[in-house]
Amino acid sequence: MVEAVRIYLLLAGTWMRSAAQYPASMVMLLATQAVATFLDAAAILIVFAHTPRLGGFSLPEVMFLYATSGISVAVADITLGTVERLGEHIRHGTLDTLLLRPVGPLLQIATEDFNPRRMGKLVPTAVMLVVSLRHLDLHWTLARAATLPLMLAGGVGIFWALWVLAAAWQFAVVDGKQAANSITYGGAYVTQYPLSIFGRDALRGLTWVLPLAFVNWEPALYVLGRPDPLGLPVFFRFASPLVAAVLAVLAALAWRTGLRHYQSTGS
């Protein structure tokens, strides 16, 4: 594990130096990423310009959901987002060269093109978390305060697993990257909002089938002091890390299976 982190930092650092060759492009990309994140938030502000509550939730509450989801997605994307390029590596035969190094291919693809732009989403969402917390007017208890880092960590873990699953899927369907986006970027999109607005059936699906509810919804209900519309036991509010762990095991299995059955292209 320590070795993997060492290699990860080494590779990421090398790509950073590589990116430093094009400073103007990097600054522009970093800025656009940040602006894009703010525009997403602007969309929420536009919605709330017309209504004080969305699905029963206030603006600071939705901002809290938006920010916690955004931070989890940003951290997962920064560290692992490029694994979705697996399909390209298979198509171009470059996965073969990655397999020749004494370092796992997942690590190599995850660090690929590592550059400052990846931070573009993290800073704005972190700012929004602070802003939303200041407007929330919550009675902070130790348990509430402890739930916040727990949900962020669980969210990161869930998105890590989703990204690896999305990559592993491309071992089976090489051109399937965009379909996999529906769980990675789709997951990032729905968790910005209170999941209850999508209806009870969707909420059940997002709890039991594709457990995106554990990214931030379930723990946020506890932090915001709201009842669970599905009436699930209190334990579910704190289950994020457990769900993340289960998904991580599934993702690791899928990745290994895919790699083992990998059929390299002709030459």
Partner: protein
């Protein structure tokens, strides 16, 4: 003219070979249609006749947006033309007895034509399976919608052609591509319909070329705009301005290429 028709037909065939990729993308477009519809339904629950839309309009709008993503390339980005500019192959193209802008326009229309069916139909069908959507009430509305989509494709090409040509001066298109993605997403009404944009922001957004990409065809589709002359004049006007700007920039680029010797 025959040549351009051939270029368009060739592009259509070329794009139709990537079936799995198209299928996989259209699947995600449809899923996103449901998610966006969910958000808009919640908003229209709180404000039933917001922006003159009712819930059915808003839901239809979500799926229509997803259907038009690829035909009008809402995510922006440059044409494959940039690659030819970067490698210098462009100097060969400029010496061909074919108009550069015309060539790429034909190519892009071929691409858009394939996208209209492969990427446009499934999200609408998917949406119709779950929700009752608002369909055009008469064949005339369908025809008006078709004309509006065609004009939207021209505007989209006009924008992307200009972006592609900036590579002549900037050498790296990633930055401009990023900016084009953001402006196009936000000002087309993709994230939130333009009818919901408040106050002056809404007025300005309705006048920008990106309004011609999705908001206008959607309003024609929903039967909210029957003043076709105005709609077409707006879309056609922007298309003409953008295409003319593209011509001018092509000429400047050509002169620059001649002066600098490629």
């Amino acid at each position: 003219m025959r040549l351009y028709a051939w270029i368009a037909a060739y592009a259509l065939r070329r794009y139709s070979t990537y079936r799995v990729a198209a299928l996989s993308a259209t699947f995600t477009n449809t899923i996103f249609g449901f998610m966006r519809a969910g958000v808009l339904i919640a908003l229209w629950h709180a404000r039933p006749s917001l922006g003159g839309y009712d819930v059915t309009d808003a839901v239809t709008f979500s799926f229509l947006t997803q259907a038009l993503i690829e035909p009008v390339r809402i995510f922006g980005g440059s044409l494959d033309l940039t690659e030819r500019i970067r490698t210098g192959d462009i100097s060969i193209d400029l010496h061909r007895p074919v108009d550069l802008q015309g060539w790429w326009l034909a190519d892009d229309l071929g691409r858009a034509g394939f996208a209209l069916f492969s990427r446009g139909v499934p999200p609408l069908l998917g949406g119709a399976l779950v929700f009752s959507l608002r369909w055009p009430s008469s064949p005339a509305t369908w025809a008006a919608f078709a004309g509006s989509v065609l004009l939207a494709m021209l505007v989209s090409f006009g924008l992307r052609y200009l972006i592609s040509l900036t590579v002549f001066w900037l050498h790296d298109d990633r930055g401009v591509n990023g900016i084009s993605l953001i402006t196009s997403m936000f000002f087309s009404g993709m994230i939130v319909p333009l009818v919901v944009f408040p106050g002056r922001l809404g007025t300005v957004a309705q006048l920008l070329p990106w309004a011609a990409l999705i908001q206008m065809p959607a309003d024609v589709f929903l039967g909210r705009r029957t003043d076709l002359l105005h709609v077409y004049a707006f879309q056609g006007g922007w298309a003409a301005v953008l295409l003319a700007a593209g011509r001018l920039l092509t000429m400047t680029a050509r002169r620059r290429l001649v002066v600098n010797g490629g």
